[in-house]
């Protein structure tokens, strides 16, 4: 079989290159934006998603994880009373100012967990032992935050809120995206270093006993406890992600750029395919005169679109790969699970097909008299 589609496509090299540039640009924009968006989404709830708790008890009316407010730690005992609760523990979150090696102050979020139970402790340790945070003002920081906090080795000392602290460990993957860096320490140390009063906690984390459903226990807690909100881990995680993406407009902005890529791609591809079709209208008409049905002609145009999409997607992925490598060096994260990559191809193919609609309409309407004009 002679593929008129491919012959046409590769014959006009300049036009092909322009179309490919358009598709590649669109693919790169879409891929990177979605990758950044997903990394961003996963990061906003990274601490919640890594605790082994099933239920979070929070101050009433909280917007998201990072804006946690203190409430009386007596609630912890009330939680433990409720049937179906296997264990419950306090979990602290407080803002503070970290003194960097250059002397400037960086806003950080101190995360306080119980070093005996390690509920809410960092999950991926590069160096150090998380139990060591039980020592006075001992802290862990994340290796991805050296840009903001300074490259401090184990044993180095600095200050949080003008009080001396000591680095006892380094974590990995506990990095916030737009939030302040997370500093892990003990629950007690957070009370020392922050302005939160003794006798308070910011969260109570609970585990549901085997044989009970999470929803059921959550329901019971919500009924029994006053002046607090109760979420399952999943609910709290979603609420936090929703806040950072929807309420801040951040997610919308990222997706808007992806959409822009789609529009640019559609316009460029549509334009090149359309002019390629109108220029060959007479030959298409001739083909029709010789007995080609409209479908025979659509197949040519659709094949052109699909070949464009495959080549453009390949180039787009190639370019994206190098852009992502460069971004990772610049400490920007990108998350691209394979279904997303498949999805981007589907979008690319639809974009190329969609931009062929005008051409298809055009060949349907070919006037037979056209082929006789010289």
């Amino acid at each position: 079989m002679v593929s008129i589609a491919r012959k046409n496509l590769f014959h006009d090299k300049i036009r092909f290159v322009v179309a490919q540039a358009g598709i590649t640009l669109a693919v790169v924009l879409i891929t990177i934006q979605i990758g950044v968006y997903l990394a961003f989404l996963a990061n906003t709830s990274v601490l919640i998603d890594h605790t082994e708790a099933d239920i979070w008890v929070t101050a009433r009316g909280l917007e998201n994880f990072d804006f946690g407010r203190p409430f009386s730690e007596k609630k912890l005992y009330e939680v433990r009373e409720v049937p179906g609760v296997l264990w419950a523990d306090k979990y602290m979150l407080a803002f503070g100012y970290w003194k960097t090696p250059t002397g400037s102050q960086e806003m950080v979020q101190m995360v306080g967990f119980n070093p005996e139970t390690l509920v809410g402790a960092p999950w991926d340790i590069v160096r150090g032992n998380p139990q060591d945070v039980k020592y006075f003002n001992s802290v862990f920081y994340d290796q991805a935050e050296t840009n903001r906090l300074g490259d401090l080795p184990i044993g180095a000392e600095t200050e949080i809120n003008n009080r001396r602290v000591r680095v006892v460990g380094i974590t990995r993957g506990a990095r916030s995206f737009i939030q302040s860096p997370y500093i892990f320490t003990s629950f007690k140390n957070v009370l020392n270093l922050s302005f939160i009063n003794k006798g308070n906690t910011v969260y109570v984390l609970a585990k549901v006993a085997p044989g009970y459903s999470v929803q059921e226990v959550k329901q019971r807690l919500a009924e029994n406890l006053k002046d607090v909100d109760v979420y399952t881990t999943d609910e709290f995680s979603k609420k936090t992600r929703r806040y950072w993406t929807v309420n801040t407009g951040m997610g919308t902005a990222l997706l808007a750029v992806a959409l822009l890529g789609l529009v640019i791609g559609t316009v460029i591809v549509g334009n090149t395919i359309y002019t390629a079709t109108t220029e060959h209208l007479k030959e298409f008409g001739t083909f029709k005169a010789m007995g080609a049905s409209n479908w025979n002609l659509y197949k040519i145009i659709i094949e052109q679109a699909l070949v464009n999409s495959v080549v453009g997607y390949g180039m787009g992925m190639f370019v994206s790969y190098w852009v992502i490598q460069a971004m990772r060096k610049g400490n920007l994260q990108v998350l691209l699970p394979w279904p997303v990559l498949v999805g981007v191809y589907v979008v690319t193919a639809l974009m190329c097909l969609g931009s062929s609609v005008l051409s298809i309409y055009k060949v349907t309407k070919i006037d037979p008299a056209l082929v006789f004009k010289s």
């Binding site: 079989m1 002679v2 008129i4 012959k7 046409n8 590769f10 014959h11 006009d12 060959h280 007479k282 030959e283 008409g285 001739t286 083909f287 029709k288 005169a289 010789m290 007995g291 080609a292 049905s293 025979n296 037979p368 008299a369 082929v371 006789f372 004009k373 010289s374």
Partner: protein, 231 residues
């Protein structure tokens, strides 16, 4: 209805074609009746705008008559639905145009092969047949040339080979020599005549060129949409 010669390939029965309506109506073809036999070479002459191309399109199932009937091999094609016409054209008719209408991206061989593909012949069989048709038109040294690398006469010979792909019994040619010098023009006309006489096809050609009239079996004249009494 009158009895018709079994040898009739194309028959027009009181065919008229009017473009537009009301004041702007153009009566391009008026009340034309005609019977064309196989193995014959017809030339249609007439001034510009007299309806030659319109008549050709009616015969080639590219246009529906406003009134009257068109028969190909006793099948009333003017009564067929739009969806059935591509098949009729694929099987019965080959076209040749003044402007060649070759895909610039296809070589001579690919042009013929693609047309054969369209007509149901695939793979190596199609390639072999394409070579045969081009060789028949003495283009064996031009298989892999793009239209831009062919002379006008060669381009038109590729177009003739394309019209012959699928072995249609009817070839309709609209001023095929219009863009050729007289020598290559005459060559094409001779090829067409041989296709009628040696292969039994019906060749119907529109031409202005009085120098080649001697090659025709029959000359038809049209003026203002009406066929003149024939000699």
């Amino acid at each position: 209805m009158a009895c018709h010669d079994a040898q009739t390939v194309v028959r027009l029965d009181r065919v008229s074609k009017t473009y537009g309506s009301g004041e702007s109506a153009v009566h391009a073809v008026q009340d034309v009746s005609l019977e064309l036999a196989p193995g014959r070479f017809y030339i249609l002459m007439g001034p510009s705008g007299s309806g030659k191309t319109t008549l050709l399109m009616l015969m080639g199932c590219l246009l529906k008559p406003t009134s009257g009937s068109v028969f190909l091999f006793n099948e009333e094609v003017s009564a067929l639905g739009e969806g059935k016409l591509p098949r009729v054209r694929r099987e019965k008719v080959g076209f040749i145009f003044q402007g060649f209408n070759l895909f610039p991206a296809l070589t001579a061989l690919e042009t013929i092969e693609a047309t054969l593909n369209l007509k149901g012949l695939r793979g190596e069989a199609a390639r072999e047949k394409a070579r045969e048709l081009l060789t028949h038109l003495r283009l064996e040294k031009r298989f892999h040339h793009l239209p831009e690398d062919l002379s006008g006469g060669e381009k038109q010979r590729v177009a003739v080979a394309r019209a012959l792909a699928g072995d249609p019994p009817i070839i309709l040619a609209d001023e095929p020599t219009g863009q050729l010098d007289s020598k290559s023009g005459r060559l094409i006309v001779e090829v067409l005549r041989d296709l009628a006489h040696n292969e039994g096809r019906l060749i119907f050609m529109v031409s202005h060129d009085t120098r080649i009239l001697g090659l025709a079996d029959r000359i038809l004249e049209i003026d203002d949409g009406r066929l003149k009494d024939q000699s």
